[in-house]
Symmetry: C2
Subunit: 110 residues, 2 copies
């Protein structure tokens, strides 16, 4: 008998990082350090403000990133990976590696 759903580690992982923009956001924060809200907006212009907010909130709720508010004027909010988010570093690098491999393969076909 094989476990399929329920406690499957792969499904658990996908639940956390499977959001539409979560992987790229995490990749950005893991490799390039903490970023402010509008910095992320500039980095991902194709992500709407609403979706960026939602994805960041979900990542925060799942404990993958930290949200630090600086009570200054003008206000400043910085997003950074948590310890749990940092533990995804290798996974994210492997995804990037595979992406490179895939793009190479595709380029070689032309």
């Amino acid at each position: 008998m094989e476990k399929s759903a329920g406690g499957c580690p792969v499904e658990a992982a996908v639940k956390l990082i499977g959001g539409k923009w979560k992987i790229v956001i995490l990749y950005q924060l893991v490799t390039n350090g903490p970023k402010r809200f509008n910095e992320l907006r500039r980095i991902f212009p194709e992500v709407t403000q609403r979706m960026l907010t939602l994805q960041l909130r979900e990542l925060e709720e799942d404990g993958l990133i930290n949200r630090k508010v600086y009570h200054e004027v003008p206000p400043k909010v910085e997003y950074s990976v948590s310890e749990l988010g940092q533990s995804l570093h290798q996974v994210l690098l492997h995804i990037q590696d595979w992406g490179l491999y895939y793009l190479d393969q595709k380029a070689a076909k032309n």
Copy 2:
């Protein structure tokens, strides 16, 4: 200057494996070998037939899986990973590893 969108390998990878059920489907095919349509349905009862079909079609279009039709009665269709899909093996294992780590961490907190 940093590349953010466009040819980013991470975004390219997410485009291919970022579908709602693609990672778990690929994981299943990579680790447990070729599967028929209704086998996959039984393994993932929470995925609707329509979505399973759509995700399989997209995976096929992107060259990640192969679809082999046996012209028998009753009909038989077998899905298996392609060479490109097989190249995701390590990535999928890393995702699984991280899922295990995450579930452990969560369990430890209780």
